[in-house]
Symmetry: C2
Subunit: 405 residues, 2 copies
């Protein structure tokens, strides 16, 4: 029997971020940058007006006041996006819009509300310092600076800067395409009628949603019956589009072990037991010409979900290029007692909250691996070490947060 | 001049969650449930085997031990999804797969590894309690229980439960379709060549990414030149598909006020100044036959982004049906001094971190409203009240987190 760490190291071995792909900036949102982006020009790229107003010589306005406004001749009018056709000389001003290039000869921008807003002549009621209301070339970002480095997760603020330095596309690690196959003759697509003894396939939609939440693309296939021929054909079909395959179910001991039946003839999948609860039976390996990773998760819904969180999600996050591939773990005070199996690490469903400035966690309902009611109440997994069989209330425990990346 | 609160109340007035829409479970991920979902059957829906093994009468095994195994006749073999054809009687056992319905007459499931795994006869080496390894009908969720209530944000764990109670589709508040129009004759699509005096349109992609991050659908239009006819035609075109319109730029004082020019003839947009920095000039109202909300944000990139965060994002979150529409605000200790304008609430770019167990925040670089370099370094906005003109290092300040919902 493997430890959780041993199995985790085994499934992560050799996993690399997916090969970089050029995508548009908006499509890059949430992705990890695969290149260092440098500024091919400074920001701003040219001196420009910080406000709507008039470009002037500061020396013309030394004596300006409310009582004695100085009158300047307006010799041009420059919107943003255009350049002045003349230069500012003594006694003249050029009207400018915010963002317009600073006209030649101008020393400052007088804001509109220090003036009468005139178009042929303008009266200015205040003196002004040289450089006032001018954004200088390069005062935000110097030419050649690395504005976003490889490994950065791209959100709106990073995208703003990449756009400003002229990037329409960037190189990122793309989202892995994960094919999810649920297996079990008792499974029916959720929403379809159930005959006696059948149940709705919750694993397919649950793992698909968890894959999307991890930042990858989910393709659902199935539910498939417990039948080796069907599974084999499906795997061969799906390998073309998959960066990863995840199966759930089909791993019962004995006669109905469809997954082991098919995958012992194909690929490099190893079937192991991992010292954990839920989720003990685990399979992992690669398949097909591209060595596509495959995970075979147990069919009990809670076991499948917990196995996904503990083993599959870190692999997806690494394929996405994230440096931080694990969910955050916090210490919290356990409120209710929690029994735990000897020799296995327990991942108990729990609800984490902040009370009186500290984290507290409560086990969330029944811990049976078929119990989805308590899973839906949980926002965290309480991690109980292998050698502990009972955690008393008031004990500090490690808690894996399911609500944060 | 309005306060930030006054403008926020004004833009939120009358905003309701979008009308519910039926979507598939996977499409519902991240959405807010618009109905109470009750269990139309209990979970589990029938007594079933918790493990692979043999369904037995407990009374047959009272004397079973390693030294003296009890032999039972195996009278059927039931995979999950099927029902036994006979009932368990004294001296007999039925082999069952995990999840298979408990056969009539059976009192417990003997796990496979307490047996020799026989198919005609099975030797059992331990006694067993009645009810052992049986999942009882309803022990997870009773019939008729509300499993997910209106207002729940749907993640993988909620989707698992909804699937298990047989829902293939659920009613959620759909994502608003937000049309983003950037305006300014100086703007060029990022990645296209720039002539002197022109700049890349960063607002379009930034606000589009921020809209997506808020959970809505972004459609980018433009950049458009500062031209009333073009803007008018664009607005009329886009109204058909928009649940909200956001413009950036085109609001310079005086001659180039394209947005005010067009929207003073159309809709109910009010142009106001809000006592904040950045982001003072704000416009908001409704447009068209469906009273589509429209925001006219300033063109300075930082002003546009901060205005989006402070005013537009809460409106989007309310349209999505979220109860909690604001970003979390935490108290943090300011590390460096921060000057602030009198009479305006400042939203200064800052970098929030945890140091020695407490939140600390550092102003992130230059605070000019054109400075995207410091915006990309920020993960938070330091909120400085209107009456404060200087915050000293060591002061506790309110910090709006940009990295959490």
């Amino acid at each position: 029997m493997r430890t959780v760490e041993e199995h985790l190291q085994s499934v992560l071995a050799g996993v690399e971020p997916l090969s970089p792909l050029d995508v548009t900036l908006v499509d890059a949102r949430g992705c990890v940058l695969a290149e260092d982006v440098t500024a091919p020009w400074p920001l701003p790229a040219f001196d420009n007006a910080q406000t709507d107003g008039y470009a002037v010589k500061a020396s013309d306005l030394l004596a300006a006041s409310d009582g004695k406004p100085v009158t300047l001749r307006v010799i041009d009018d420059v919107p943003a996006g255009y350049r002045a056709s003349v230069e500012v000389r003594e006694g003249s001003a050029i009207r400018v819009q915010t963002g317009a290039p600073l006209p030649e000869g101008a020393e400052a921008i007088v804001p509109m509300d220090w003036t009468d807003g005139g178009t042929a002549e303008v009266k200015v009621t205040r003196s002004i310092a040289r450089g006032a209301n001018v954004r200088r070339r390069g005062d935000d970002v110097p030419l050649g600076e690395v504005v976003c480095s490889r490994g950065t997760v791209l959100g709106p603020r990073e995208i703003a800067l990449l756009a400003a330095v002229g990037r329409g596309r960037v190189s990122v690690h793309p989202e892995p395409r994960v094919v999810i196959i649920s297996i079990g003759s008792e499974l029916v697509e959720p929403g379809m009628p159930l005959s006696p003894g059948l149940i709705a396939d919750s694993n397919g939609v649950t793992i698909a949603a968890a894959v999307q939440e991890a930042g990858a693309i989910a393709y659902r296939v199935g539910p498939l019956p417990d039948d080796a021929t069907t599974l084999l054909a499906t795997l061969e079909d799906q390998l073309v589009r998959a960066d990863m395959i995840v199966t759930t179910g089909g791993v019962s001991a004995g006669a109905y072990d469809t997954v082991k039946d098919v995958l012992s003839r194909l690929g490099t999948v190893e079937f192991t037991t991992v010292a954990m609860q839920p989720g003990m039976p685990q399979g992992h390996g690669t398949l097909g010409p591209d060595d596509t990773p495959i995970f075979t998760l147990p069919g009990n819904p809670v076991s499948a979900y917990v196995s996904f969180e503990v083993f599959v999600r870190p692999v997806i996050r690494r394929m996405l290029g994230h440096a931080q591939i694990y969910r955050p773990v916090v210490r919290a005070v356990l409120v209710d007692p929690l029994p735990s199996p000897a020799g296995r690490r327990q991942f108990a469903r729990g609800h984490l909250a902040v009370e009186e400035g500290r984290y507290v966690v409560r086990p969330a309902g029944g811990q049976g691996s078929h119990m989805l009611g308590s899973l839906a109440q949980a926002n965290a997994l309480v991690v109980v070490p292998e050698d502990i069989t009972e955690v008393k209330p008031g004990t500090a425990v490690a808690v894996l947060r399911l609500d944060q990346d």
